[in-house]
C-alpha cells in the first residue's frame, strides 16, 4: 500500500493517525526552540521541523503541542504547516528522494531520472514505499543548477546524476550500505536531518568538501592565469 503525504495535494492534517512519539524530552526541546526568538511565534517553522524529526510527519499531537507552547490556535499552526512543501501529512520514508524537474534539470535529464526512480521504487511522487524505506518527491529548483541534473536525498545533494548512479544509489540505500552525499556527509535519514533544520546541530558540519568542482571553475581559471580580485600587494 502506498499513500500520499504532501499537504499540497491532499488537504489538511491526517487526524485518522493519532500516533505520536512526542514525550517530555521532546516537549522540552520544543520549548527551547521557542526561546531562541525575540517573539516566540517565529519558532513555529523550526518547531514543525522538530515534530517531523520525532513523528516522521506533522502529527496531530505535534500541532497541539506547538499551539500550546506558542499560545496560538491549532488552526494557525495547521495554516502554516499546509503552506510549505517540506512539511508532510503522512510519514515520509527513512530516505526522502527528491528529483529536480524544474526546467533546466528536466531538460538535462531530470525527467528521465524521475521516470526511472518511479519504476525502481514502484511509487509516484508524493508516495512512500510499503516498507517505509523511501518516499519520493518532484522537487523544484534546488539551487544547484551547475550540477544538473540533481537529485536530493534527505535534502543532501546528489550532484550530476545519471541513470547508473541513481540505480546504484537506490540499491545501496535499500541494502543499508553507506552512501555519501556528493557535497556532504554519509546519508542517515530524513528524520535525522529534520532535527538539523530545527536548529539542533548533529556535529557533521565538517564532513564533505568545501565545494563541488563547478563552484570552483572560475577560481581555478583565475589561479591558472594569475588573475586576482583583491588589490595588488595585499596578501590573501
Amino acid at each position: 500500500m502506498t499513500h500520499e503525504h504532501d499537504f499540497a495535494d491532499t488537504g489538511f492534517l491526517d487526524t485518522t493517525d493519532q500516533s505520536t512519539a512526542i514525550d517530555r524530552a521532546a516537549l522540552d526541546q520544543l520549548e527551547a526552540i521557542a526561546e531562541r526568538y525575540p517573539v516566540k511565534r517565529s519558532a513555529l517553522m523550526p518547531m514543525l521541523h522538530f515534530v517531523q524529526a520525532i513523528d516522521k510527519r506533522v502529527s496531530p499531537a505535534g500541532v497541539e503541542a506547538i499551539a500550546k507552547i506558542l499560545e496560538i490556535t491549532e488552526a494557525q499552526v495547521q495554516g502554516v504547516a499546509t503552506f510549505y512543501t517540506m512539511y508532510k501529512r503522512r510519514p515520509a520514508g527513512r530516505h526522502h528522494i527528491g528529483v529536480c524537474t524544474t526546467a533546466l534539470c528536466a531538460v538535462m535529464g531530470g525527467d528521465l531520472l524521475l521516470e526511472q526512480v518511479e519504476q525502481t521504487l514502484g511509487i509516484a511522487p508524493g508516495e512512500t514505499t510499503e516498507d517505509g524505506m523511501f518516499s519520493l518527491e518532484k522537487v523544484e529548483c534546488n539551487a544547484a543548477c551547475d550540477f544538473a541534473p540533481v537529485m536530493m536525498v534527505n535534502w543532501e545533494f546528489m550532484d550530476n546524476m545519471t541513470p547508473e548512479k541513481a540505480e546504484q544509489l537506490l540499491d545501496d540505500l535499500a541494502k543499508g550500505r553507506d552512501v555519501t552525499s556528493t557535497r556532504g556527509p554519509v546519508l542517515t535519514s530524513w528524520a535525522d536531518n529534520e532535527r538539523v533544520l530545527a536548529g539542533i546541530p548533529d556535529g557533521k558540519a565538517n564532513d564533505g568538501p568545501s565545494a563541488g568542482e563547478p563552484s570552483l571553475e572560475g577560481v581555478k581559471i583565475a589561479t591558472a592565469k594569475g588573475w586576482s580580485g583583491i588589490p595588488k600587494g595585499v596578501r590573501s
Binding site: 526568538y37 525575540p38 517573539v39 517565529s42 513555529l44 517553522m45 523550526p46 521541523h49 502554516v80 503552506f83 510549505y84 512543501t85 527528491g98 524537474t101 524544474t102 526546467a103 533546466l104 528536466a106 531538460v107 538535462m108 525527467d111 528521465l112 523544484e140 529548483c141 539551487a143 544547484a144 543548477c145 551547475d146 544538473a148 541534473p149 534527505n154 535534502w155 543532501e156 545533494f157 541513470p163 552525499s181 557535497r183 538539523v196 533544520l197 546541530p201 558540519a205 565538517n206 564533505g208 568545501s210 565545494a211 563541488g212 563547478p214 563552484s215 570552483l216 571553475e217 572560475g218 577560481v219 581555478k220 583565475a222 592565469k225 588573475w227 580580485g229 583583491i230 588589490p231 590573501s236
Partner: protein, 437 residues
Amino acid sequence: MTLTPILTRNWGTERSWTLAAYQAQGGYKAAKKAFKMTPEQVMNEVKDSQLRGRGGAGFPTGLKWSFVPKDNPNPRYLVVNADESEPGTCKDIPLLMASPHTLLEGVIISAYAINAHTAFIYIRGEVVHPIRRMQQAVQEAYDAGLLGKKILGSGFDLDVIVHAGAGAYICGEETALLNSLEGRRGQPRLRPPFPAVAGLYASPTVINNVESIASVPSIIEYGKDWFAAMGTEKSKGFTIYSLSGHVKRPGQYEAPLGVTMRQLLELAGGIRDGHQLKFFTPGGSSTPILTADDLDVPLDYEGLAAKGTMLGTKAMQVFDETTSVVRTTLRWVEFYEHESCGKCTPCREGNWWLGQLLAKLEAGKGEEGDVDKLLQVVDTIAGKSFCPLAEGALACVTSAVQHFRDEFEVGYHTPAWEHLPYELSAVFTVPGKEDEQ
C-alpha cells in the same frame, strides 16, 4: 576581461568553512576596521561604493540601509535573505557552504552600520549541509567573542539566529520572507510601509541578499574606490555569474559587472561539443530570455535593461539547439504555478491557465490562435498582482514567444517531443534509447 575572485577566492582551500581557516587568510580584519569607524562612516562607505543588491532587484544597498528611520524607538533587525530558489540561481548556497564566515563578517559590519542587535539568516530548508556549516560558523563566532556581548571589545552587541525555511520560493520576496520568519504563511505584504520602517515584528528591518552582505567586508577592507573602480558606469563592483546547462564547464565565475556572455561562455569552454547556443536566461527564469544575437550585451543592470530584460540574479541557464523552448517554458510556468502563494487571483489562476495552454502546445494539440491566447492570458496577469512572482512567470512566456513563435505554432499539429526529441538534450544516454540518438 579578467575574472576577479573575491567572494569565491577561498572556496577551494583546506577546511575553508572554519573560523581558523577564514582568519588565517585575513578574515574578520574588516570587522575590526569597521568598529574603528562610526556606523555612519560604515554606511557611507557602502553607499559610496555604489554596491547594488545582488538578489535580483539591484537596489542600492547603502541607500536601503539609510531608509531606517533614526527616531524609531523599536529594535532594528537585519535579515539575510538566503532563500535562494530562483531557477538557475546557485551562488549563495555554495558561499554558505564554503565560506559562511564571509557572510557572517558582512552581517556583523552591516548590523553595526544600521545599529541592529539581532540578525537573522533565513536559509531555504532544502539544503541541509550549507545550513550545518552556517550554524557551526555562528557557534564558532560566539565562542571566539565575534558575536554576543561587546564583540571584539567594541561595546557592540549582536546575536545571530540561523533559521531554516520549509520549501517556498515566494519567501525569497522580502515581505513574504518576513511573514515566514514571524511564523506565518509566506505571503507578501502590501507596501508601504516598507520593511525599513515596519518590517519584522513591525520594527525597522533591513533585508539583503547573501551576496550583497558578503560583499561588504571587502568594501570596508579595500575601500569604496577599489570597489567602484570595477564594473561599469552605473553597475559597480564584482559579482558572481552562475553558468548552468549545455556548457562544457558550468559553474561560478566571479567577474566585474559588465562582462559579456561571449566572454563568460569562452571561459566556460563554450557550448557542449557539436552543439550551438539556442537561448539563455541572463538572470534566472524570471528574466526574459536572450539568444545568440545578444552575446555582446554587457551583463550589467543597464545593459540588460536596454535589451528589455534584467540582470536579476546573474544566473545564465544555457540551452542548446536540441532544447524545446515550448517544453522549457512550460516547465518554468509550472514552477511559478506551483510556487504562487495564492494571494492574488491573477497569479494563482493565470499561471494555471498558462500551464494548460502550454501543455496543449507541447502535446501538439494546440489550436490555431492558442499562441495569441497565451499572450492574452499574460495581459490579464501583468501588473495585476502584489509581488514580482507573476511578472517573472510572464517574462519567460512573452520573451520565448517573441523569439521562437514558430516553434510554439508547431504545437498546433506536432508534439514538441517529436519536433525536438527530448533524449537529445539530456546530458546522458538513456539505456535502451540509444537508437533514437
